[in-house]
Symmetry: C2
Subunit: 343 residues, 2 copies
DNA sequence: TGTTAGCACTCCCGAAAGGCGAGTGCTAAT
DNA sequence: ATTAGCACTCGCCTTTCGGGAGTGCTAACA
């Protein structure tokens, strides 16, 4: 975080320039500021201040005879020090609340729709990293025979997240075998956090099943290994189209890079995942992805029962309506957390 | 289907124009044809034929001094009568086969990756309508308590499709209640086709449970109603970016309309769903969606165990490589059907 | 010393102009 | 019936050019 290192008048001007540029998408000139914002300063004075701000890296000029726009450093200062926290408008709050009132749907649908509403309210592309298994608690496992050699493994967590996986076994197993296996797996695993499964419990379990027959052994071993490999999280996405509203993407090439990014889940994950809780704002080149170097990303984590399980966020040009987006993302993340924690 | 109503030389010229335009995206002129395709005809002759073809509606001119391009009617004739069926290249077949060899994944992932490979091979945006429940056979149901008042209902079909839904009950139910309910539901429903559930079986079941306690009754009733409402199919999508390779979408507005379409599942469903099996080609305004009036769509249904359960398809400009796409879509639909039927 | 008016200068942007080139339809010859 | 020749059309690309917005600098002023 930056220190407060600009004098009040420079701050004021930086703020005004940023606000105006965010709104208009046009470089802001000294004349405009003087006329529009009544600061009691002449254009010339503002010009001087702007020149200073440019020299110290907070503003820049697209070209000599244009107004100023904020640099990445300028946005950072704006976001950290100048931006006014907005309270979400009543109607927006209402919309979100209303949406989260209707409850009986699949998890998948809920998440998809949450991203959709986020995109609608922000008018930017919105993304979500689906809930991880890691912090969940094991609730139920069910082994279901699909055919002679294929078993469907269903794992349910306390959050209602469902994992399913087909595993192939060499020798046929009977329904009875599987029921028995399901039963003892459940007895053993129910209530345990996933994070702890890999190490202790599983070995323990492996020991135990030595006494059982081989097909059961095999099934369990496979289950365990499949639990191991399962790390990929789903990415939800909506409102890509919103990006086209913004003049910075009128050049197809720029948009193309971004669209490419959006179609690759791994890269999105890298962009979104954030270790610490709370709102995070990444501006321009702070983003790890080359394609997003002219974008900013605002994310917040959401939780289930106090445990962080996923991330929700918005992607936009660096000239983004930070204040508004922050308030929406925050509110939705919180609403989603509450919603998921209730079930 | 059109009758064969053009004389051979006109057909030849229509075919050449279409082939060339599909490849080059430029209106093709008489001179080009004469030089490039050695038809033993002079440009002037070709011009006369083209003028005839234009008059009868198979070709059109973007403007007076440009070459000809196929009209929608022209494409239709091309697709129905002139296009040579291609056999898929060995390497493409190999790629697809290779992909379908690796088996143990979730259904969801498989479908997503199938669309991805379709997009890769065709270089067009690709879509899939996820498998419907309707033609499946009931395999297993499991009721799992998530909290005091929420029950997770898991339904597994013989195809490994998994539906899950959270339903809320008024009064708390115990694990034992649910196990008992699961048991009798399974006994009753296993092996029945979904299509038949709504009517006969369910009423029968309702009668039967009158004798049971109320919480059980309630759960079953809810289950039935949730089965009813569940009709929405998932849409998988990949390779949107490919559309930008084509000059017809260099105008942002056109692309925007299409992107809008792609972000709305219902509209995609309407566009894709096709009653009859086999390859279907919709050209330009044959499509029900306004936004796709300058596009063509090639779809094929895929099956599980001989029953049509979904659709896979490709969207491109009307100037689309029909022959190649048809062969890819066909092959992938078939491979997917085989793959899904094996499990 | 900070602020402001005045002014010359820069440079983007959009409109207008002009030339090129590809392709056509028509006519007349084969 | 086919073809060569030719005048004509028209999209597109490049160039040109003026207007306008905005600047930095200088000098005057409080």
């Amino acid at each position: 975080m930056s220190q407060r290192e600009l004098d009040p008048r420079k701050e004021l001007i930086l703020k005004v320039v940023t606000d105006d540029y965010i709104e208009s998408a046009e470089p802001v000139g000294s004349r405009t500021i003087a006329r529009k914002y009544n600061l009691g300063l002449s254009p010339a004075t503002i010009r001087n201040e702007m020149a200073d701000l440019e020299e110290s890296g907070y503003l820049k000029q697209p070209h000599v005879s244009a107004g100023r726009i904020p640099s990445q450093q300028g946005y950072r200062y704006y976001v950290d020090m100048l931006m006014q926290q907005q309270k979400l408008k009543e109607e927006e709050q209402g919309l979100i609340r209303l949406y989260f009132e209707d409850r009986s749907r699949e998890l998948d649908t809920i998440l998809q729709q949450t991203v959709k509403i986020l995109a609608q309210l922000t008018r930017y592309p919105s993304l979500m990293l689906g809930p991880t298994l890691q912090p969940s608690i094991f609730k139920h496992v069910q082994l279901i025979p699909l055919s002679a050699n294929d078993i469907l493994v269903l794992i349910v967590t306390d959050m209602g997240i469902i994992e399913n996986k087909v595993i192939a076994v060499d020798c046929p197993v009977t329904q009875a075998d599987l029921d028995r296996a399901s039963y003892s797996l459940n007895k053993k695993l129910r209530g345990r956090p996933f994070a702890s499964l890999k190490s202790s419990v599983l070995n323990e379990l492996k020991e135990e099943i030595k006494t059982e027959d081989s097909s059961f052994q095999q099934a369990v071993t496979l289950l365990l290994s499949s639990l191991d490999t399962r790390e990929k999280e789903r990415v939800y996405l909506d409102g890509i189209i919103n990006i086209l509203e913004h003049p910075e993407f009128k050049e197809l090439e720029k948009f193309k890079l971004l669209l490419e990014l959006m179609e690759e889940e791994e890269r999105l994950c890298r962009l979104l995942s954030s270790p610490y809780p709370g709102i995070r704002i990444s501006i321009g080149e702070e983003n790890p992805e080359e394609a997003a170097h002219e974008c900013s990303i605002i994310t917040a984590n959401y939780e289930i029962g106090g445990r962080v399980v996923g991330t929700i966020g918005v992607l936009g040009p660096t000239r983004m309506d930070y204040a508004h987006v922050v308030s929406v993302v925050e509110f939705i993340a919180q609403s989603l957390s509450e919603f998921l924690s209730k079930s």
